[in-house]
């Protein structure tokens, strides 16, 4: 009579075997290699590294393969691996003005030291499906090359700061907080907020950044600059006392220039919103910069009226590993709670029905 709808170990194993089969797809087609994913889906790899909070192109590509292209699942795989790694320390701050630039654009100046470098961008492509790509084995067009212009590429915000028009950020030697060790607490310091946003879900950051543009906590932004390229990571071991080069990573940095009306203690000036991400992720870095600036409302004496300015709202909901876990946990059995709700509702309905009967009788 009663067949329990319960899954044992066998059901789980069978489900996972089936999952493996669907991952492989049609066995008549060659299997995707991790190297192919790493080379030919670099933006997916970048996003997984950012949200997975771990810079490792090979592991990110492997995670994408294992997750059948589900990038949030892939970021989760990478995070779960990351947790098992020892933490040796904090790197020295990246010197992004010494970046090996692949792309660098400013929306605030027509020309500036270091120039405008378009780089490999989808901007100005016409979004027409390219059916030639469907044919495999086509000759690859070589991109023309030119000399790298010599000279420094100073940051736009620094140029403004020298003129006194951009609020200076306080330099500090204090070790920044680390969300992977200490839970979020409020008020959250800016380094912790930035760490949270840097790992945050791209869609969530995009929507929040967009909302600030449409009037929910807005503050008209200019793209001071977006720069994409490679920077050297250095680490100073306390026992040596001097920095050692660990290697080079690809990053995208965005500095937004925002108006600021000034306060009793500070004259009107520009303030910055900051975005930084692994790899090439302009949408992500720009959204992050918009949200970072919105989250500074309280410290700049602005009214907090919109979701993007609300620290708890933004920082508690940005993490897609947490979010997807909790949303999807609703799939787990809840019949014990549901049963208590059923009995509850039946009791209430029975009482209402009794009252209605009595009223009708009177």
């Amino acid at each position: 009579m009663y067949v329990a709808v319960k899954g044992g170990e066998r059901a789980i194993s069978a489900a996972h075997a089936w999952l493996d089969e669907t991952r492989r797809g049609d066995p008549a087609l060659p299997e995707l290699t991790v190297a192919q994913i790493e080379q030919q889906m670099p933006l997916a790899v970048d996003r997984v590294m950012a949200e997975g909070s771990c810079h490792d192109r090979f592991l990110a590509a492997l995670a994408i393969k294992q997750a059948k292209g589900d990038l949030i699942e892939a970021a989760f795989l990478l995070r779960a691996y990351r947790t098992t790694l020892p933490r040796f320390g904090v790197s020295d701050p990246l010197e992004t003005d010494a970046m090996r630039i692949r792309r660098r654009i400013s929306a605030t100046y027509k020309d500036l030291p270091g120039g405008q470098v378009l780089g490999p961008t989808y901007d100005y492509t016409h979004r027409l499906l390219d059916f030639a790509l469907a044919a495999e084995g086509a000759e690859r067009a070589e991109a023309p090359q030119s000399e790298v212009p010599a000279g420094a590429v100073p940051r736009v915000t620094e140029l403004l700061a020298r003129e006194g028009l951009m609020q200076r950020e306080e330099a500090t030697d204090a070790e920044p907080g680390d969300l992977t060790r200490e839970p979020l607490a409020f008020p959250a310091a800016r380094p912790v907020r930035l760490q949270n946003l840097a790992r945050g879900d791209e869609g969530f950051l995009l929507a929040l950044g967009y909302s600030t543009q449409r009037g929910y906590g807005g503050n008209h932004p200019f793209v001071g600059e977006v720069r994409v390229g490679h920077v050297t990571v250095e680490f100073t071991p306390p026992e040596l006392g001097f920095p050692i080069e660990l290697g080079e990573i690809g990053i995208t940095e965005c500095q937004m220039v925002n108006q600021f009306k000034g306060s009793r203690t500070e004259p009107p000036q520009f303030t910055r919103g900051y975005g930084l991400t692994f790899g090439h992720g302009e949408r992500r870095a720009m959204s992050m910069a918009l949200v970072d600036r919105a989250l500074r409302a309280t410290e700049l004496g602005e009214d907090v009226t919109a979701p993007a300015q609300d620290h708890e709202f933004v920082l508690y909901h940005s993490d897609n590993i947490e979010a997807t876990g909790f949303v999807e946990h609703l799939k787990l059995p809840h019949y014990v709670d549901f049963q208590s709700e059923l009995e509850n509702l039946r009791t209430i309905r029975a009482a209402l029905a009794r009252e209605a009967m009595q009223e009708a009788a009177e």
């Binding site: 789980i12 946990h329 059995p333 809840h334 014990v336 709700e341 009791t347």
Partner: protein
């Protein structure tokens, strides 16, 4: 049975992380019902699927322990199977489905029917550790309310139920006062289970991984379900007997048997139920 995995520390977490967890657990035991923030780690299982409970269990588990894992009161629900299998793989500990044989019981949504003992620990998986969360979403504010023991919001919420329905309509995750000081979320167990928490001989630990909080109820601590003098707390269960073992005391699951209103009720605690069936069969 799955073999123990190579290359991982006993019970998966490294010893430094376990130490961090144990410190949080000790703090939690010292301040019954108070939520202790801790540096929850990403686990290889998703947030919301028991990562808090898993981390607490991993921190207290020893090689000589016997682990029981239940979800909805049952040992054979998929997530319970998955978590039990996880600990079998990473710790190689003995597992059991018998409540009486377990030294650690990790649970989601139920407390076993059989009374627990002093030499047992029950670890609850907690989705939302903050009992005031639906009334006040800001944690900075709920923290203040807890420090002032200002629980008027919750009393008003319960009173509103009485005004509207004639009784308190909260059926699960029914708020409790611990040791007369802290308002605590008992996790989404049915209100039916709340009285079992009061002065329980076993240590009760609560882990919320996603929300990064641990809390505890030490043995024999007073746990009182919130109520009013004229509207005392009353546990709810379906007014039926279990179709398998005939129990009229246990908490029941409702099972739909056809699309014409056919249904039956069976114990949600599968170990309790099968134990009673075995006793009856032995007597026959």
């Amino acid at each position: 049975m799955s073999p123990v995995m190579e290359g991982y520390n006993f019970a998966y977490l490294d010893e430094a992380t376990k130490r961090m967890l144990r410190r949080a657990i000790l703090k939690a035991v010292a301040i019954p019902g108070h939520q202790i923030p801790f540096g929850a780690r990403e686990m290889p299982l998703p947030y919301g699927w028991g990562t808090g409970g898993i981390q607490v269990t991993a921190a207290i588990l020893g090689p000589s322990d016997t682990l029981k894992v239940i979800d909805q009161g049952a040992d054979d629900t998929t997530n319970a199977v998955s978590i039990r299998r996880f600990f079998t793989r990473v710790a190689g500990v003995a597992t059991t489905e018998r409540t009486s044989e377990a030294t650690i019981i990790q649970t989601r949504h139920r407390i076993p029917e059989q009374a627990l003992r002093e030499d047992q620990v029950i670890v609850y998986q907690v989705p939302q550790p903050e009992p005031l969360s639906r009334l006040e979403p800001r944690r900075a504010e709920t923290k203040r309310l807890h420090s002032l023991a200002d629980y008027g919001l919750m009393h008003v919420r319960l009173y509103e139920d009485i005004a509207r329905y004639g009784h308190i309509a909260k059926a699960y995750d029914y708020p409790v006062m611990v040791n007369g000081r802290y308002l605590m979320a008992p996790s989404p167990i049915p209100a039916f289970d709340n009285p079992k928490m009061d002065r329980m001989p076993a240590l009760q630990l609560f882990g919320a991984g996603r929300e990064k909080r641990i809390y505890a109820v030490p043995p024999y601590t007073e746990v009182k379900s919130l109520d009013f003098e004229d509207h005392p707390f009353r546990p709810i269960r379906a007014p039926h007997a279990c179709a398998l073992c005939g129990s009229r005391e246990s908490y029941l699951d409702e099972v739909i048997t056809d699309d014409r209103g056919g249904r039956l009720f069976v114990c949600s605690d599968t170990d309790y139920c099968s134990g009673r069936v075995a006793l009856r069969e032995a007597a026959e």
